[in-house]
Symmetry: C2
Subunit: 496 residues, 2 copies
């Protein structure tokens, strides 16, 4: 099927296919290795240079490389760059199989002393082409999408829609949706929201891109970001021509003193309710401090409230936006609470930004599908959204409890943090072991990410840990994923 | 409700509200005049300068000015700029009402000798705040949206969707949709389409923006455009950093000889099947010529096939893309054939562009809602789309015939052109009368546009005419809209 070829280096072609760019690049690289087009030992271009060749964000390529290193297809050594893993070099253990399949990569070498319980065998064995278990963070349990309830809302909305709803829409989004969103956000997240300040967008990144454009055209040069986060978001700001100075962090979370990088920034992007991926909530004094900074400097706080609905042990932390609606841009999404596939998100804007954001959005004039917006309005207004969030909160909380219990039983020295809220937790690992655990996970068919993957360039690598998205697998796959996770964690002395 | 204020000039504020930017700006200007904040005779800022203040495209402001001039709120005189129409100056006819309502603008002065049949009365009378009749081109009959059939397709699609459909999607769009689109486009439009060359996007402008970005990053400097077209499209290219040299046209349509502006362009944007708004199809020799240019120069033809499904008297003209799929980017949309509110469009790309376009789209990673894409796939695959297009083709053809007959009866000297296809026709007017007819139309509560509004800057104003979107009104409003149109057209000597 796929036959798109992108030039790679001098004359090597990579087949890029979906579903996601990084996944596509990884598949293409695996295929090139598997087929022998990329020979063992070949040095790959730098992530920067390959990214430029492919027109991708550098982080996408770097992430793909990191995962393929973790999966054993590639190796990365200081001073030697990223290379295709050698598959014929003898390893120290005796061969168990006389003829390892040529098309499969060799497992990577585990570092002595850091060998996880379920370490790969000494010789290469065929690995499944796709991971059997998925604990990557960022996606809710898609199997729990409330199809029947959504369909009911869609039918009602489509039946009741005025004819003009099928025309070119208001770039702000349907008024019906903005009206119920205002009510919901005030009630559930403490957001000061009025329909005329709300702009519906097609995902958090769409909103961030629009805000970035507006800030840049206002003359803002830097938007400060947290020490850990998604490379995609930083890349989006960079792409809008903005610098992204990195805020330091300490054991209490992100530091927001004005003497730091905030001093020169025009805005700051924060996951205040639930830091992604580390998991903490910004302490109240720092919430006040960052809003004070915005007031004093005329800057803006961009609040990425990606999973604010999910807090387990007490009331959700209200949105920062409530502290000062004129200085905080609130960005929310249905991607975690409902499904990313709907492409529904929203911004609540300071009055002073509404006109510019709407103008920026209106130039391209694309809005989410009007029937979808109306269906979501119906879904929210009928209480179906609240019911769904409540049900998912119970389910995710149960999984979180099972995760905490299982880790305590199998790997008592592993500390689980960031568990008060959200859809993921961080498992702190002994210093220097993150890559080994990731390799063991890949070997065991478990897709999971390390905190290092979210570290901003220049931030010291002081943390080792796994980011475990416990919401990701469907119920049917959750227990086996959890068992596999426990197998690859550092074992208690004498345990296992 | 609305309380967004944009600074206007020194200290005047304009209230901007939906549903569309231009409409919002027009409302705000009307309100400012009505309330007296903008006094009669006040000179408005240039469209360029107001556009910069508001962060809008200049064409949006220029169009709003033009329509308000046509509606009589503003005046535009050579050398005197755009001003608020004077409301107290005595006109030549006797007053019929002693006290014209202060809050309403005066009607504009009709030029002597060009007075349409249904000219405004000599003194200002209250006008309806929204036009009663709408014959603006660009929107299909929204009342004919096939709600029941669409809902059926949506239900089937949502029920059958795999769980992963609710996750983050492939930036190219769902494979189910791309597969049926490939089949449909090959069958209905003669497009050489394979699923892996198709990228689903959220409207034509979204696709054009992506292509513009990719071309610009390839080093293309100019994308040639036609003499008449939408300012939005040109503005989008300009916004991507591209120049937009204008191709000349003659009585056979757009001229595409290499010695013209094409010579230095890296691509050309064309409405080859049905020029918008003038209505002709590009003659076969010029189709071949522009593709030959693309082959010889390595350039691309961007084919805007916005209403290719609608051709009335013979087989549709096949897409230009079939001539050379490696040099023509095909852009299609459901906005005219089904409804703009769905935000569904598609590109069929040369193999060499797929990777870059997908990468550009993937950076922001927003795609149309997956359930919508699956519903559209079901709608296409089940034959419901073909049935809908056939039904609408009959309906629109009947309206076209009624338009032609009515114009022939009421204004026999008005030539109707561009009627072989599409959802609009052009009514040629006597030289110098377009603005008068538009004023009469506005006065009679008829929203309709003149060809001059679509003329690119620098193109000589050699045509006077109305662009009549006969698909726009619902059936219930069509006859009265047509009657109103006939009233404002130039009358036959002694006729009327």
């Amino acid at each position: 099927m796929a036959n798109e070829w992108a030039t790679f280096g001098a004359d090597l072609h990579l087949e890029l296919r979906g579903p996601r760019l990084r996944a596509g690049l990884m598949d293409a690289l695996r295929e090139a290795v598997r087929s022998g087009r990329l020979e063992a030992g070949t040095r790959l271009p730098s992530s920067r240079s390959l990214a430029a060749d492919l027109g991708m964000a550098r982080n996408t390529v770097a992430d793909a490389y990191a995962e393929l290193v973790a999966e054993g297809w590639l190796t990365a050594r200081q001073g030697s760059g990223t290379r295709v893993a050698r598959r014929t070099e003898p390893r120290r253990a005796e061969p168990r199989r006389a003829e390892p399949r040529r098309a499969e990569p060799r497992r990577p070498e585990p570092r002595p002393g850091a060998r996880p319980a379920a370490a790969p065998p000494a010789r290469a064995l065929p690995r499944p082409s796709a991971p059997a278990h998925n604990l990557k963070a960022g996606t809710p349990d898609l199997a729990s999408f409330p199809r029947a309830e959504w369909l009911k809302a869609y039918r009602r909305a489509l039946t009741a829609a005025p004819n003009e709803a099928f025309g070119y829409g208001d770039p702000r989004g349907r008024i019906e949706l903005r009206t119920v969103l205002a009510e919901y956000l005030a009630r559930a997240r403490g957001v000061y929201a009025r329909p005329e300040r709300i702009v519906v967008c097609a995902g958090f990144v769409h909103g961030l891109m629009l805000i970035g454009q507006v800030l840049r055209s206002r003359g803002v040069r830097d938007v400060a970001i947290e020490s850990y986060g998604l490379g995609l978001h930083a890349g989006l700001l960079t792409g809008a021509g903005l610098g992204t100075p990195v805020l330091p962090f300490d054991e209490r979370g992100t530091r927001v003193e004005e003497s730091g990088p905030l001093g020169s920034a025009g805005a700051v992007l924060m996951t205040a309710a639930h830091q992604f991926p580390l998991g903490g909530a910004l302490p109240p004094d720092r919430r006040a401090e960052v809003v004070d900074w915005a007031r004093a400097s005329g800057g803006f706080v961009l609040e990425d409230d990606y999973d604010g609905e999910f807090r387990y042990d007490r009331q959700p932390v209200g949105a920062l936006q409530g502290l000062d609606p004129e200085r905080v841009v609130y960005l929310g999404t249905a991607s975690k609470s409902l499904a990313p596939g709907l492409r529904l998100a929203w911004m609540v804007l300071p009055e002073s930004l509404v006109g510019e954001v709407v103008a920026a959005k209106g130039v391209v004039d694309w809005v989410s599908s009007a029937p979808d917006q109306l269906a979501f309005a119906e879904f929210l207004g009928s209480g179906a959204y609240d019911r769904h969030v409540r049900a998912m909160r119970l389910r995710y909380r149960r999984r979180r409890d099972q995760l905490v219990a299982a880790v305590a039983a199998h790997s008592p020295e592993t500390r689980v943090s960031g568990i008060a809220a959200g859809l993921h937790a961080v498992l702190a690992l002994p210093p220097g072991t993150e890559q080994d655990v990731l390799r063991a996970a890949a070997w065991n068919g478990l897709a999971v990410q390390g905190v290092d993957q979210f570290r901003r360039p220049g931030v010291p690598a002081t943390l080792d840990g796994l980011v475990v998205g416990y919401a990701t697998p469907p119920d049917s796959a959750w227990q086996s994923a959890l068992r596999t996770l426990c197998r690859v964690l550092p074992q208690a002395p004498g345990g296992g």
